[in-house]
Symmetry: C2
Subunit: 189 residues, 2 copies
């Protein structure tokens, strides 16, 4: 299936578009292809785009003062990723987003997204719904960080995103869960 059809299906899983609306919408999405280890977002740089992942796997993370990597999020097919704070506020990135696998994206500029949402109510409702779901997922992650052990977080992740677990290198998975690689091996055992 071609990339634009995948995107239309993704949007229409939530909101219906007429063919005319879709022709208008698709014009704002630009294709980008990156290889493993390349960056979508780098700390200190402007963040003109958010990205919809057509195919591939990314991680969004912060580096602390000791150079330790703290993973905020993994993203795979159908996920929207960026440094959302920097993108929305037009300030330099505080995060890094890079590719764990060779990946394909659609890029969307903030101005284009806002214009599209003003012009096409269905798109405003699409982004509203996605943002709501994202908000809820982050609340669940905060609760999990506050109340659960690494073991509980790992079992939940296996249930929720089995396909992700298989693709993410163990070292990164350990970092996301906030445990050492040795502890993760024990949890998997």
């Amino acid at each position: 299936m071609d990339h634009y059809t995948l995107l239309r299906n993704h949007i229409e899983a939530i909101c219906t578009l007429t063919d005319e609306e879709w022709e208008f919408v698709r014009g704002y999405f630009h294709h980008k292809k990156l290889r493993k280890h390349q960056f979508l977002v780098q700390k200190g740089d402007p963040v003109p785009f958010e990205f919809w992942i057509i195919q591939g796997l990314i991680k969004a993370y912060a580096l602390d003062e000791d150079g330790k990597e703290h993973i905020l999020q993994f993203g795979m097919e159908n996920y929207w990723v960026s440094d959302h704070y920097a993108y929305q506020n037009k300030v330099p990135a505080t995060l890094y987003v890079d590719c764990i696998e060779d990946s394909d994206f659609f890029c969307l500029k903030l101005e284009d997204r806002e214009y599209m949402c003003q012009q096409i109510p269905a798109m405003a409702n699409f982004f509203r719904t996605k943002s709501n779901l994202g908000y809820i997922a982050l609340q669940q992650r905060i609760l999990s960080l506050l109340t659960e052990t690494a073991e509980q977080r790992y079992s939940k992740l296996i249930k929720k995103l089995p396909r992700l677990i298989q693709r993410v290198p163990k070292k990164l998975l350990a970092s996301y869960l906030g445990v050492t690689r040795e502890t993760l091996s024990r949890l998997k055992g």
Copy 2:
């Protein structure tokens, strides 16, 4: 200023409504008044509403298996609060939301919100923007939990929400920051 005027100002800080649209919108918001210690949401109960805080102060929290309280969020004037996961998915609450002060709210049903967003594009854009900002704030909180010390989290909170700090009892503030009350006293010293 009457409650409905406050709400209209809150919405129109983001999106303009005609008088006719406002008359339609305001009909979906119902007033609720609670005293200190009363609950908006209780674990196990259905969550038919989200709440906009007209005046007051609330906390949203989870209890772990040992009965320890983990504070997800404080909310004050102009905040939208609920157990968003339960509200959106029509499942029983996993959180508690209760009042730290006597408080006034507007309640909004999910069906009413969705209908309003379908009928009035400006309202879809209003909720989309609020949800985006909420998403970004939660990402910042996760990063803070992953990378910062309690001391750093406390200084940021003072800068960001000085008015909140003054109103929230020290015991709850310590719980939110994930430190003991003694540690908090030291940070404040």
